[in-house]
């Protein structure tokens, strides 16, 4: 396919997405479910890609995502809750005077500044998480695979415990969590519905740029063979730290968006289960594929929250009650799916290749080949990025 054609295809795709968003904006009331699923998917796509950056591209098996998300979520929530609602939110223990003073100061700012605050809050959350990651990265990144996993998981639990501790009552509202978090802000005049998608697009594009840069190639070298990479003159620690910090930054941004999406957060939201859910998305999408993670974020979220809900309902076909269908069956199906992918289909949806228009163009031929049970010769050919 020619470069020009590809460009046109990508443009058409973008226009289609924009049209879909405008259409959703116009039909907000009727499509609440669809909108919330798409938004949640976009948010999870960010964290899935940043987990992939770490696990898939740098080969660092980290399970600390939930912790970094909670940093982003809490900071965003604290910074954006309106001053009038403070007493209602912190009704149990009161709010720390300096938090109130800071927020009053923020609300006194000029109005153009105020419309930027939510975005600033997201970035501040990201920066704090990145700083924290840089700090714990120094000792933790020396550890080998499974020790690293359990240590990052441990840090995530420690962060959660700190946020929910009674000692933090006046700042994070302890274990009661924060509510009355304002929803997504308007993005430069565009409706607030667009915001999570635009932020997701920008952050993922930034990560793709990083992956395709020389740093990205160094990450992949470390993933393949640490000793060889070091012998080639790649500073292991510097690159691991970079990958860890960048990944944490974007994870925290997605955490902040999650707080805006859910409108109320508590420390329990960010437990190990959340990390596992993200891992599920990454594994199904293909470890080492950005487009796989994005695709899988949308597919998994939509199936989980919507399409497969019927598994949880009693189902009757022609008067016969299908026995297995009741609450919880959906999640069993999901876990079996995850196991099947891990055991038999380790590549996931995309393996470690990326989406490309060439791939789409070859599709008809492949489907034909699929039906005639012959594998196309260029099966293993990698794509060339979005």
């Amino acid at each position: 396919m020619k470069k020009g054609t590809k460009r046109i295809c990508s443009l058409v795709l973008l226009v289609l997405i924009a049209l879909l968003l405008f259409w959703l904006e116009a039909n907000k009331s009727g499509q609440g479910m669809l909108i919330s699923i798409l938004q949640k998917s976009a948010i999870l796509a960010i964290v899935a890609v940043s987990m992939n950056l770490l696990n898939g591209f740098t080969g660092l098996f980290s399970l600390g995502q939930a912790g970094f998300m909670s940093i982003g979520a809490y900071i965003t929530a604290i910074l954006t809750i309106p001053v009038v609602n403070l007493d209602g939110v912190y009704y149990m223990n009161g709010v720390a005077p300096w938090v109130r003073a800071l927020k009053e100061g923020m609300e006194a700012g000029p109005s153009w500044l105020q419309s930027v605050y939510p975005f600033l809050a997201l970035i501040v959350g990201g920066l704090v998480a990145a700083g924290f990651a840089a700090l714990i990265g120094i000792p933790v990144l020396r550890l080998k695979s499974d020790y690293l996993a359990i240590a990052t998981l441990g840090f995530s639990e420690i962060i959660r415990a700190i946020f929910s501790s009674p000692q933090m009552d006046t700042i994070t509202n302890g274990s009661y969590g924060l509510n009355k978090v304002p929803t997504f802000p308007k993005f430069f005049g565009l409706p607030s519905l667009f915001t999570p998608f635009i932020i997701a697009g920008v952050t993922i594009a930034l990560m793709v740029l990083l992956i395709n840069s020389s740093y990205g190639r160094a990450f992949k070298a470390i993933r393949e063979d640490e000793v060889a990479a070091e012998a080639m003159g790649i500073s292991l620690f510097r690159h691991k730290e970079l990958s860890f910090v960048v990944s944490s930054f974007f994870t925290a941004i997605s955490g902040g968006l999650l707080a805006m999406f859910m409108r109320s957060i508590e420390a329990k939201t960010f437990s190990i289960a959340l990390t596992y859910d993200i891992l599920l998305i990454v594994v199904i999408g293909g470890i080492g594929s950005v487009s796989g993670s994005v695709l899988s974020a949308f597919l998994v979220t939509a199936s989980k929250e919507w399409w497969l809900r019927f598994f949880d309902q009693p189902l009757t076909i022609g008067g016969w009650q299908v026995p297995l269908f009741r609450t919880g069956f959906r999640m069993v199906i999901f876990s079996i799916l995850l196991m099947a992918v891990v055991l038999f289909y380790r590549r996931g949806i995309m393996g470690n290749s990326e989406f490309s228009w060439d791939g789409v163009a070859r599709l008809p031929g492949r489907i034909k080949g699929w039906f005639s049970r012959k594998r196309p010769a260029h099966e293993a050919a990698g794509g060339d990025g979005i």
Partner: protein, 293 residues
């Protein structure tokens, strides 16, 4: 805090630590041989709790306990055969994801089969008999747990030091490939490891839940992680290490809760892990190993 109160706390802590120690042995043995954190171990422990509920519903405890132990062993071995064995040559990350997947599956399966509403744990009457020693007061199971733990560990140590299977286990954990070349049937040894680990998890589960009286699909997650930490703390691969680790974590946790820091009781465990990894990565009793290129 008066002396009695402190003693009572220690008693609670030692009892909890005993149960932790039994679970930690399962982690340490599997890690020693497969180099795998068996994330599903905590959930095997939880499932053993549910097995007990159903076994006790139709049998007296004398029959129910062996049944539960056998059931748990079968589950542990089946999990190894289905989820871990096919991935023996795969990258480390894959097999870890598989372990996480099994844990996810067991939790969701338990939620589906038994609902997420906590289930009352059946009582074995003689275990719940209340004893008073001076001002201390506790049920028999509280006293029994540490004693039984020590006995089981001594038995296990003998098994590993004196029997052929034990020797084979030690060989496999030292060098996987060489022991294979020496004619050790790796798969059988790995299964034996899972048999021992699961059996101890079942015993641990009976002691733990009898004392706590309710089981939910998620009651295995945190004890599981804590016991892994206990195993690392004591030095992974070392059985006495796991036992010491279990007791240390059990007592520390109880004392932290008693002092009013219950939010930090879980976090402390992980802090302990990280400090240990930084200053003595091989744990208290672990052997030094060097990475070969």
């Amino acid at each position: 805090m008066s002396l009695t109160t402190i003693l009572q706390h220690c008693l609670t802590g030692i009892s909890l630590g005993g149960a932790y120690a039994l679970i930690a042995i399962g982690y340490t043995m599997v890690y020693g041989i497969l180099r795998l954190i068996n994330f599903a171990h905590g959930d095997i422990f939880m499932m053993a709790g549910y097995f007990m509920i159903f076994a006790m519903a139709s049998f007296p405890w004398q029959v129910a306990i062996p049944l539960v132990i056998v059931g748990t062993i079968v589950m542990g071995v089946v999990i190894e055969r289905v989820a871990y064995k096919p991935l023996r040559t795969a990258p480390r990350m894959s097999i870890m994801i598989s372990a996480i997947g099994v844990s996810y599956l067991l939790q969701n399966l338990a939620t589906y089969l038994f609902t997420a509403i906590p289930r009352g744990y059946p009582e074995i009457p003689f275990l719940k008999k209340i004893f008073h020693i001076g001002a201390l007061s506790a049920s028999l199971v509280t006293f029994l747990t540490p004693v039984l733990t020590i006995l089981l560990v001594i038995f296990l140590m003998l098994l590993i030091k004196k029997t052929k299977v034990g020797m084979a286990m030690r060989a496999v954990s030292k060098d996987f490939e060489t022991s294979q070349l020496m004619g050790i049937k790796i798969n059988n040894i790995i299964s034996a490891t899972f048999v021992i680990g699961s059996a101890l998890a079942a015993v641990g589960s009976i002691l733990y839940f009898t004392d706590r009286m309710s089981v939910t699909p998620f009651s295995g997650t945190l004890p599981g992680l804590k016991c892994f930490v206990a195993a690392v703390f004591g030095g992974i691969g070392s059985i006495p290490g796991a036992v010491v680790g279990g007791f240390v974590i059990g007592i520390a946790e109880t004392l932290l809760v008693a002092m009013g820091y219950s939010t930090f009781s879980d976090a402390f465990t992980f802090l302990l892990l990280i400090v240990m990894l930084l200053f003595r990565p091989t744990g208290l009793f672990g052997e030094k190993s060097t990475d070969k290129v």
